[in-house]
């Protein structure tokens, strides 16, 4: 559908590379991610984990509330079967 293409673009959803620790008890902890500017950001703390949708970025998944320095931000693990991708919300 040619005419729908313009509306399907999504400027607020950014998929990111994430470094993860997989622990022996089966849980995971994100350690750092690479933002679209190519810079790697360390995750200092995970404050909260719960399933949640992102109206802003358009998607749903397991939402991690993380601290990067003094800033709080969301990271979403968009899992489907065995494949998982992480996305974050771009703030304009």
């Amino acid at each position: 559908m040619a005419d729908s293409q313009d509306y399907l673009a999504n400027d607020y959803k950014v998929y990111v590379d994430v470094n993860i620790d997989h622990k022996a008890d089966g849980t995971i902890r994100p350690r750092s991610f690479v933002w679209e500017d190519g810079k790697r950001y360390q995750i200092d703390k995970v404050l909260d984990i719960r399933p949640a949708a992102s109206r802003k970025a358009g998607g749903t998944g397991l939402r991690y509330t993380v601290c990067v320095g003094k800033r709080e931000t969301f990271m979403f693990l968009e899992e489907d079967h065995k494949v998982g991708r992480w996305f974050m919300e771009r703030k304009y």
């Binding site: 509306y7 673009a9 999504n10 607020y12 719960r50 399933p51 949708a53 109206r55 749903t60 494949v83």
Partner: protein, 416 residues
Amino acid sequence: MPGRVILHADLNNFYASVEMLHHPKLRGRPVAVGGSAELRHGIILAKNYEAKAYGIQVGHALWQAKQKCPNLIIVPPDYDKYLRFSRLFRKILMDYSDQVESFGLDESWVDVTGSKTLFGSGEAIANEIRERVKFELGVTVSVGVSFNKIFSKLGSDMKKPDATTIITEDNFRDIVWPLPAADLLGVGRSTQVKLLQYGVRTIGDIARLEPKKLQSWFGKWGLFLYTYANGQDISPVKLTNYELGVKSVGNSTTCPRDLENEQDAHIVFQNLAESVAERLRDLGLMAKTVQISLRTNDLAWCERQMALPHPSMISSELTNAAMLLLRKHFHWEKPLRGIGIRGTNLAPLEHFQQVTIFDDGAKRERAERLEYSIDNIRRRFGHYAVQRALLTIDENLGKLNAKADHIIHPLGYGRL
């Protein structure tokens, strides 16, 4: 069965809502999800409220819809996404009961009779489900709460979006009976027309009829309608793992064009067999028998079956069996309109099997591994990421995503 508490949860404008969540720019505009016109099913599958205001309805042809609303944005369906949301939706419901019965991708009944002491009244659970679906999935759901499945489904249809409707044994005569008869589950188009001829307009009219009269009009089905209208339906909400008792896995299709020769049939069988084989693997099952169904363009219909040399969930083996059956039983006096393939006589998947001396065990093992790899690629990159060359010979025939397209629609309620 006194005192049952049954919820019916219905995701509002499911396909369209999922698309609007994923594509923020669509919000606030008239949006419809539609099949592609080239494949003979160019119809509207779902619409949002903005599109509804223009009179767009599910089932309209795409060109019809565009005429009613030139600004309508038509988005192609993405079944992987809908299946994921459907699964997440069920997962939420399963937190409240072990009786969760799906009716299509976007509707489920939940019997919470036994969970009241844990989670509160039916209304409280319904509201909690609504809040969680909104927060966790980003779409809305309407919930009907009642003492039987028929009325809870009616309830979920009464207030939309994102609302709870309660129908009790005390108020159903006031709430349900004034509704048109067509709103009752089980009253389809032809039943509705017949009822109108007898002057029966509302659900209350049905409820007040003599059961014998309904029986003389509709046979046994008439008695069902009587109990439905009077709130006497006692059918249980099935246990969640009920579906595991699968008897057969099959797929059939009406082809985008009539099939003229063996190659045409081969393309479609291969396509359907891939979905059957993939679903068998998902269920951890193998088929010992393959069954095909054939429908010619004058709508004559027949079914043939054969036993496989060994149980299989490999698509090429299913296809070969189907082609063998076709050659043996069909002689192309007329073109084929539709065909189907089904694996029956199912056995649990085992990796150790009796081999015969004529078998090339290593070759079968390679074929199996190949199919699992294909499943994986498709799961990660979508159905069309990897295709058999055979399917590209005729683009229309090959371009059926059989697995996604054919497991969406629920069976008719009560009719078996």
